[in-house]
């Protein structure tokens, strides 16, 4: 039995559970679109105003939508005893945790990217902002899932853990927010976005390297 097969088994199971319980996937997506759609009603339809706030609003809403779904990564497994069984599996916990994070991103992070296309149009943002918006979301949303998983593992099973998780995680998302919104803003002004993209890519690599280890360690602490 290879570790790859165990990884695929967890990934397949979590995707299947997500698709059979669609409300958990749809809720963050609806929240994302709904909240981002409210701002034009509040500030009016002035194109220059929307152009200034648009990238930031779209990114902040993506950040909040990602936070909304973090609790689902480990909570259900903790409640029904599946987490103990994953812990006792013959494969490394860090590998199984990585599979769960990937499933979370595919179900809750990836759908935010096409939804950003519609929001881009709603805010009447120039076409030049489209590519940077999608690229930054593609680089930034996995960082949300990875970092969120480590803290979700640390707070799983705690009373009021959801609120605590949001309080702990939001400050950690700020670097992604700064570089992502900066990249979109630069693109709209005709400036280079390479620096911001490199920073986002570096954050993603850092999160990919460290966060599954941190999540597995946190789960050991919580289960013990």
């Amino acid at each position: 039995m290879s570790v790859a097969s165990a990884f695929m088994a967890v990934l397949r199971r979590d995707l299947l559970l997500g698709l059979r319980h669609r409300v958990e996937i749809i809720n963050p997506l609806v929240f994302y679109i709904l909240i981002a759609s409210l701002f034009p009603f509040a500030v009016g339809s002035d194109r220059s105003t929307l152009g200034i706030i648009g990238p930031a609003v779209i990114w902040v809403c993506a950040l909040l939508a990602a936070t909304l779904s973090l609790d689902r990564i480990f909570h259900a497994d903790f409640e029904d005893g599946s987490l103990e069984q994953l812990f006792l599996a013959r494969q490394p916990l860090v590998l199984l945790t990585s599979a769960k994070v990937l499933a979370h991103w595919l179900l809750c992070g990836l759908p935010l990217i096409p939804a950003a296309l519609a929001l881009n149009a709603l805010y009447q943002l120039p076409v030049t902002s489209l590519w940077p918006m999608l690229t930054t979301l593609l680089l930034g949303t996995p960082v949300f899932s990875l970092t969120g998983a480590a803290l979700a593992a640390l707070t799983v099973g705690l009373r009021g853990g959801g609120v605590l998780l949001a309080l702990l995680i939001l400050p950690l998302y700020i670097p992604v927010l700064i570089f992502a919104v900066g990249a979109v803003g630069n693109a709209m002004n005709g400036l280079s976005i390479a620096g911001e993209l490199y920073f986002l890519a570096a954050l993603l690599v850092l999160a990919l390297t460290l966060m599954p280890l941190a999540a597995a360690a946190a789960l050991r602490i919580r289960l013990g």
């Binding site: 097969s5 165990a6 967890v10 199971r13 409640e79 103990e84 006792l88």
Partner: protein, 211 residues
Amino acid sequence: MPNIPPTCKLELRALQCSRNDALLFNDLSCVLQTGETLYVRGANGSGKSSLLRMLAGLAQPDAGDVRWCGTDTRALGSDYAAVLQYVGHQNGIKLDLTAQENLAFYQALNGGPDAAALITALERTGLASCAALPARRLSAGQRRRLALARLLLWHAPLWLLDEPLTSLDDDGRALFRGLMQRHTTGGGIIVMATHEADIGANGPHRELVLQ
């Protein structure tokens, strides 16, 4: 059937456990040989589940250690995980998956698919007719049977069972006694927390009462 050397044993050495600054048990020692069953009894909150979690490696004792075949289980790591099966308070099953999908997942995680073993596990726990039903539609007793069916998916010599009879009807209990007997006859070791006064099991067994 379990395949372990007859000299293999599970040793609990001077275990100590406290919770919320209260000592649950101290200097708890015991040696279980192959084919033996240990019934752990005690009032609610006496530390039965904590002891089982320690034996499974899910929690660490405040003092003492657990040895499998003479080696500290912490040093054995995943090799120890490979020799044990743990059924806790929670069933560890997903209600949105079918009975068959639940078992297939654990098989994939712990040794690869084995359709014959999966079907046998469902049949021996009386769940063959429910294999394609989502676990959500099973009764509490059937869900417990599904958790116990996991024991039959692969050959783990050490079974750690926390109140396995919860929600089981008379047939289920008889069926489970049969599974236990078969396991210990084959050289397996069972540690089981229970409130049952008379489990009705045959074979060598001991009792540990936690105060």
